[in-house]
């Protein structure tokens, strides 16, 4: 697939292996500035591996990853992060022995922009109340907010958000998605991995569906959402929620 001019993130022909096992096969996708793109699929389809490949945590075997025009495939993770890619990982991955504030301070790597710790705390007031508490003692929802806040402190142009609803109560999921919706309103581009397909399609502009490491759908999120039968076919019955 040829390069899409103007795309913030442009992945083309990506192949990633774990050892000898091929996980991603010829994956191509793009995210434009200010856009929310959902990356859907069953467990083991390759969604998290796609994110890890972008971040350089699991370097791809072949293919190209361009971010703001720069070829970043195979870069170390810290360089990708400093270029403006924020990461909200599956399971939150808090530094549990550090406080909320210290978790936020870790993401201050010198990238200038609107998001400072003070602004994040103002925007997510719950975190301000919990600033001195160890991250390991926060609830799942509070940890998810901290994970989002932590990624914002680095002033990302693109947020990679992996399974933000996992293990959270429905009300908390609503709150997390309200925050993601607000970020979208502020022009932060988001690549959103989610098992809860219909939930992700509510805020996404476009969607990709991965099946066994291959892209099997690429198109409008609204269209996919409207066609529940198609979502069921692509995702499997059990994963269509909301």
């Amino acid at each position: 697939m040829s390069e899409r001019p103007g795309a913030l993130l442009d992945i083309s022909g990506l192949n990633t292996n774990y050892g000898k096992i091929s996980i991603l096969r010829d994956v191509s996708l793009s995210v434009n500035a200010g856009e929310v793109v959902a990356l859907l699929g069953l467990n083991g389809a390759g969604k998290t591996t796609t994110m890890r490949s972008i971040l350089g945590l699991t370097p791809p075997r072949s293919g190209s990853i361009r971010f703001e025009g720069a070829s970043i495939e195979g870069w170390p993770a810290y360089k990708v992060a400093r270029l403006g890619v924020g990461y909200v990982p599956e399971g939150r991955r808090m530094f549990k022995d550090l406080t909320t504030l210290e978790n936020l301070q870790l993401a201050e790597t010198g990238r200038s922009g609107d998001w400072t710790i003070a602004r994040v705390l103002e925007h997510l007031p719950k975190l301000a109340e919990l600033r001195g508490r160890k991250a390991g003692r926060l609830s799942g929802g509070e940890q998810e907010m901290l994970a989002i806040g932590r990624a914002l402190v680095s002033n990302p142009r693109l947020l990679l958000v992996d399974e933000p609803s996992q293990g959270l109560a429905p009300l908390v999921v609503e709150e997390v998605y309200r925050i993601l919706g607000e970020l979208k309103g502020r022009g932060v581009a988001i690549l959103l991995v989610e098992q809860n397909a219909l939930l992700a399609l509510k805020i996404a502009d476009r969607a990709y569906v991965l099946d066994s490491g291959k892209i099997v759908y690429a198109g409008s999120a609204a269209e996919l959402r409207a066609d529940r039968e198609r979502v069921r076919t692509l995702m499997g019955l059990s994963d269509v929620v909301a």
């Binding site: 810290y78 022995d97 870790l106 993401a107 990238r111």
Partner: protein, 290 residues
């Protein structure tokens, strides 16, 4: 015998502080990268010999106390970059074997350069003699050693808890991959952390040379008590290393006074008791650098 008790206890504390500071250096390196640095004692010996040579050539002890550990840090960072780093992705067994081999090579190199026997390394005149502490008198150099080791431990604790770099180190011990995904160059963290561990070994090496003597094997002789210290204090706990070191120092000193024949095994008996009661060591559950 009881009038010997106070000085002997103080001796035990100084000796224990040595074990503690070497154990902290080992723990720093082990916690972040899983590397069991069997060459740690060699870095101590190298610092001792470098300080000895500097003093022999007319430099002051005070300069040697600062410069020798810094040179050893440079050697340590080069070793980390060239030899240890390529092994990070392998089982810890590989780096253990490599550093063990390195310590054997270093020991032979010390023999070739400085001779097979011990060399005299005396503290400077200002630190010679004994100081009266009211209820007892105690060698001035040992009081100085206690002071330096306390300052080093406090400085390290402040560095780890009050600076941004220390914060990143504490975070990296918990999740190296995530700290990289937040924009921290972990290779720099590894190098600085290794250097920090070696700096502590270097300072301890120069001081130990003046107190315990200096020979090609003198650093390695401190290594086993330091490993026992890490186990007693609990893996990953800096505070545990200090407590463990002091306990071992006291145990050795007291058995030397009351049952001299048992002094060699005292620390192993202490380790066995601690492990029976708390298999993770005294502070092993309290988190890294706890």
């Amino acid at each position: 015998m009881t009038h010997d008790l106070a000085p002997q206890l103080f001796n035990g504390l100084v000796l224990g502080a040595f074990y503690g500071i070497v154990a902290i250096g080992l723990s720093l390196i082990m916690n972040l990268t899983g590397t069991i640095n069997m060459a740690h004692g060699s870095f101590m010996t190298l610092a001792g010999y470098l300080a000895y040579t500097m003093v022999q050539r007319g430099m002051s002890f005070w300069v040697a106390l600062i410069v020798a550990p810094l040179i050893v840090v440079i050697v340590g960072v080069l070793v980390e970059r060239g030899l240890v780093r390529p092994l990070y992705k392998r089982e810890p067994f590989y780096s253990l074997l490599m550093t063990f081999g390195l310590s054997l090579m270093a020991e032979e190199a010390f023999r070739l350069i400085w001779g097979p026997n011990g060399v005299p390394f005396s503290p400077p005149p200002a630190l010679a003699g004994a100081a009266a502490l009211g209820f007892m008198s105690f060698p001035t150099f040992r009081i100085f050693i206690a002071g330096v080791l306390i300052v080093a431990i406090v400085a390290l604790a402040l560095f780890l808890t009050r600076t941004r770099f220390g914060l990143r180190l504490r975070a990296a011990v918990q999740d190296t991959e995530m700290i990289a995904a937040l924009g921290t160059n972990t290779q720099v963290l590894y190098a600085v952390n290794f250097g920090l561990g070696i700096l502590l070994a270097g300072i301890a090496g120069v001081l130990a040379a003046g107190m315990l003597g200096l020979s090609p094997t003198s650093g390695n002789a401190l290594l086993m008590p330091a490993f026992v210290t890490v186990i007693i204090g609990g893996m990953g706990s800096l505070f545990g290393s200090i407590v463990g070191g002091l306990l071992i120092g006291m145990a050795i000193s007291l058995t030397t006074l009351f049952i001299p024949a048992a002094s060699e095994v005292a620390m192993y008996i202490l380790m066995a008791i601690v492990l029976l009661v708390r298999p993770r060591g005294l502070f092993g559950e309290e988190g890294i650098f706890g």
